[in-house]
Symmetry: C2
Subunit: 242 residues, 2 copies
DNA sequence: TATACCGCGCTTGTATGGTAGCGCAAGCGT
DNA sequence: ACGCTTGCGCTACCATACAAGCGCGGTATA
């Protein structure tokens, strides 16, 4: 955990910058579920005042990635199985509906992007982080084909819940990336065939693959999951030598 | 427009109170699309400081009900046809998917609530506002039957976009409430039959009924709709004698 | 030793002050 | 009379100060 000394964020300041930074660190598990998020500490570390930090936390709380206990503290949300299941349900509903709304002649520009994207995914020796980004764009473009690209923001929020769970289980399989890429390719082919029924079946199976791993992770690292839905946080006093 | 004099909101203060108050006034068209929402003015009118007002506006902007132009002003979002269509798409996808996830033996408690709700809807001489509230609970409970009640928050956000459009067209039909109630009844009967295919068909038709009116409204009151997607607001100087 | 109590430090929530930026409008130059 | 410039008032944005509340930890007490 390389803790750089002072300002730390060369990226964009302001509410937007803080939001994006925190969100990225949460979904990538750089900030573990349950971690404390003190407004003061974050403000000092990011080199801004409490205001933009606080506003970013409010947005993240609204998104379900942060839990705020008034007058007590703010924390990274633990992985709630019900929340993951709900996110899965929402995403599946939207993406499958989008499949049915794709016109007979899809927009060529988007199709080209998807083709290039798939090629990148199948590149040998690709890193997990890069693959996740490509995965995101793939599903986004798939939604874009239906003409409802704006709905992505909603799917994205649900996807955040799923991604945390997915990353927990990434190490359980030898090479999941190649499998995901193959599934993406199969889905794309079915869409372009066009074979709607097959596309639906494949996409549904692809989306549901997440749950295979998550239960195993729960057995290994139960502290990352929410036991009591409304459990209160606790405070700890630690002695330091400055 | 009865402008009460001073504190105006006897309801809950704080961020939550301001948010709920503003949201209610926006979706009920009490605050018209395009209306200016000055932090200072709202803070003064609601009897709180700018901070909770600002935070509420941020949440509303994230929800798409408010548009913020930095250093210029905040305004109630105009009705964007694309946004309405996207909200429709999302809601349809989720609610139809929920229909498919309803178990063979639905939870009796929820069913009882639905039965009572339908009876209320069919009451003679019911007010529009009260009916809208019942409509909300009806669809919420329908989602609850599938076991994914938490997804309602997302549907609710989409519904806000739709409700504004719907209220604009409420006066175009002699008695739309009775028709809505009848459709609700038919959907509920199909769900309980159970006849999934019929339920799907009826629910889809019910949800899409909104668009029948909205185009007519656009012809009558174009200023409520967004022309240019990214049109900038303008400032006006008015002379007053205090 | 076990237990009730009270204070203190931390937290978020709210209020207020200062800053930068935008758009209009009046005023100057042409 | 027309176009450019400059000033002004407003805005949202960020920083800071103040207030209120919760929970732990030490202390006094049974």
């Amino acid at each position: 955990m390389a803790q750089t000394h002072a300002p730390k964020s060369a990226a964009a300041k302001g509410r937007r910058g803080v939001y994006e930074d925190l969100r990225r660190r949460i979904v990538t598990l750089d900030l573990a579920p349950g971690a404390a998020l003190s407004e003061n500490e974050l403000a000092a570390r990011l080199g801004v005042s409490r205001t933009p930090v606080r506003e970013a936390l409010i947005l993240l709380a609204d998104e379900g990635l942060v839990r705020v206990f008034p007058k007590v503290g703010s924390f990274v949300s633990r992985v709630d199985l019900q929340a993951v299941e709900d996110a899965q349900f929402l995403r599946e509903a939207v993406e499958l509906a989008a499949l049915g709304a794709i016109p007979a002649k899809p927009a060529p520009g988007i199709v080209d992007r998807l083709v290039a994207n798939l090629a990148e995914q199948e590149r040998a020796g690709i890193e997990a982080e890069e693959f996740m980004a490509l995965d995101e764009v793939f599903h986004r473009d798939l939604l874009d084909l239906s003409g409802h690209a704006n709905v992505w923001t909603t799917v994205e929020a649900a996807k955040a819940q799923l991604d945390r769970a997915r990353r927990l289980g990434l190490s359980l399989e030898p090479d999941p990336l190649a499998r995901f890429a193959a599934e993406h390719r199969a889905i794309f082919d079915a869409v372009m065939a066009p074979d709607r029924a097959r596309a639906r079946r494949l996409l549904r199976a692809h989306l549901r693959a997440v749950f295979n791993d998550i239960e195993q992770v729960r057995a290994v690292s139960p502290e990352l999951f929410a036991g009591d839905p409304d459990s209160a946080p606790t405070r700890r006093s630690v002695a330091v030598w400055e």
